[in-house]
Amino acid sequence: MDITVLVKQVPNTAEIRIDPVKNTLIRDGVPSIINPDDKAGLEEALKLKDQFGATITVVSMGPPQAQLALREALAMGADRAILVSDRKFGGADTLATSTTLVAALKQLKSDLIIAGRQAIDGDTAQVGPQVAEMLDIPQVSYVQKLHYDGKQTLQIQRLVEDGYYELEVDFPCLITVLAEANKPRYMHIHNLVDVFSREIEIWDFERIKPDVNQIGLTGSPTKVKKSYTKGVKQSGKIVEAANAEEAAEAIVTKLQELFMI
């Protein structure tokens, strides 16, 4: 099986402090890490490799220093690392990022593409699903559990607000994984010792040739108006109903209470 894992290098937000005077984040000296959801995605790939054998390619888009995240992935057990990096890709929003990644992914054979649910620095949860749409392959997001018996399909538990779905999905497909899905392994010392002599392939604009108008700042329709801390969302309410009719009645009553109908 060929598995491609998308990873993003992010600042370790657990170690970010807030400037008490300016009330802004102090990013200086904050160590970079593999985004936690992505690391859990890599662990799922490594578990499949342990069990069935697989070739794992990790792909990241970012500046040259993101190589360190890829080296960590290699030391955990990935086989090949590709950094999609070019000044032309800079300033990309999620759409332009996905477009760029897809240009790279089209040059790789992947039975399974694994991404993290979302990155701790952007929290958009958009890149994985966008990539799947652009590649026109099935996708399952919010994966909390993965089971594979070596046959045709993956069995998946997809987390939703009030429970989970049990789904089966054909290959090739893309899944986005939650950090809670597993506890990623540590880097293996035997891999780590030589990891800086391993090759990180740098795939630049010329290598992947995306549409120049669809990438970077030019290809990014998103404009940030302002950023703010979002309010706390209340948890949903579960209403027990004996049958569909009762359930429908409960919903209608609730909507009437809220003057929505």
């Binding site: 160590p31 030391a75 880097m187 293996h188 010392i189 010792v193």
Partner: protein, 381 residues
């Protein structure tokens, strides 16, 4: 001259730090209280490849250098003295003599299963009447020509990893008339008939560490278990201890460094007379001294590690690193307890454990006095 760690060493340091913080620190208090060997940590360390860091790849090791191994022991000791010495005794005392003095056949027989951690290693030199004076060995080995076997009788005291290790490097007299030149080293597997382990020692510190007596009653081992040459045991022991001192120095440094880090956090939070105790000059000056000593010990230790790696003479460097690191470890951990005040004396906080653990680093693998003998011997030559 470059005082910076390479990117490999930095990434490795980060990996061991994560491991120590998440897997070792949470049970450090418990294994000390219960005087329990952390077997579950051994399993976790096996999965990460901790047991063959500086052993060449052809024997199943990671093929890393001495400094990586030093960093591993140091980082583990920052949170748990017991776990660090388990790794150090296995690597520096159990595997190193086989790697240094073993035949190719012996290396292939033992190292692949030691580097995975399936077989832990131990080392038996000290006896009731032979500690610093190794020539006082009472353990004897007699060769039985009819079976081509050595028959070993005697006992070894205060052995780290006793009962947990499968492979022990044991020293025995093969010719009493020759003094230290009559000592020979042997490799003994724990499942040999007549080999047994005594009860666990009740110790001041490193209480989770498996420390016990090894008892050998007519233990028969084949001739091929002799390590090095007959009569070469004293050299095997001394050269092994040079390397072991790097491990103990790393443990001592880790304990000091861990205690210092804990204390820095503590003094920022602890308030007396309306301000944090970090704002008092006494605290500041104490911490400045502690930090300076820790850094000085680290430089001595890293230099000794790099000289060993470069195959330069490092015996005196290892002795200086061990002497200085262990003595500042005792000093720094004691000061940490003092800065913590009453809480420092409580077993609910980690610094008193670190202070108890630090004491042994001045004693085992050559006391501070022995290190002074080695160092003065080198400069007065």
């Amino acid at each position: 001259m470059d005082f910076n760690l390479s990117e490999t060493h930095l990434l490795f340091q980060q990996m061991v730090r994560d491991f120590a913080e998440n897997e070792v620190k949470p049970i450090a208090h418990e294994i000390d209280e219960e005087e329990r060997f952390p077997i579950e940590t051994v399993e976790k360390m096996r999965k990460c490849g901790f047991f063959g860091i500086n052993v060449p790849k052809q024997y199943g090791g990671a093929g890393g250098d001495q400094l990586l191994y030093t960093i591993a022991v140091e980082e583990l000791a920052k949170v748990c003295g017991t776990t660090s010495i388990m790794l150090s005794a296995h690597t520096s005392l159990g595997m190193a003599p086989i790697l240094e003095f073993g035949t190719e056949e012996q290396k292939m027989r033992y190292l692949p299963r030691m580097t995975t951690g399936e077989w832990l290693g131990g080392f038996g030199l000290t006896e009731a009447a032979a500690g610093t004076d190794a020539a006082g060995q009472q353990t004897v080995a007699i060769f039985d020509e009819t079976t081509n076997e050595w028959i070993i009788n005697g006992s070894k005291l205060f052995i780290t990893n006793a009962g947990q290790a499968h492979i022990y490097i044991i020293f025995a007299m093969t010719d009493k008339s020759k003094g230290t030149k009559g000592i020979t080293a042997f490799i003994i597997e724990a499942d040999r008939k007549g080999f047994s382990v005594g009860p666990k020692e009740k110790k001041m510190g490193i209480r989770g560490s498996a420390t016990a007596e090894l008892i050998m009653q007519n233990v028969r081992i084949p001739a091929e278990n002799l390590l090095g040459k007959e009569g070469m045991g004293f050299k095997v022991a001394m050269m092994t201890l040079d390397g072991g001192r790097i491990g103990v120095a790393a443990q001592a440094l880790g304990l000091a460094s861990g205690a210092l880090e804990s204390t820095i956090d503590y003094v920022k939070g602890r308030k007396q007379f309306g301000r944090s105790i970090a704002q008092f000059q006494n605290t500041q000056f104490q911490l400045a001294d502690m930090h300076t000593k820790v850094e000085a010990a680290r430089l001595l230790l890293y230099r000794a590690s790099m000289r060993k790696q470069a195959k330069l003479p490092y015996s005196t460097d290892a002795a200086m690193a061990k002497l200085f690191a262990s003595e500042i470890s005792m000093e720094v951990t004691t000061k940490a307890v003092q800065l913590y005040g009453g809480y420092g004396y409580s077993r609910e906080y980690p610094v008193e454990r670190m202070m108890r653990d630090a004491k042994i680093t001045e004693i085992y693998e050559g006391t501070s006095e022995v290190q002074r003998m080695v160092i003065s011997g080198a400069i007065l030559r």
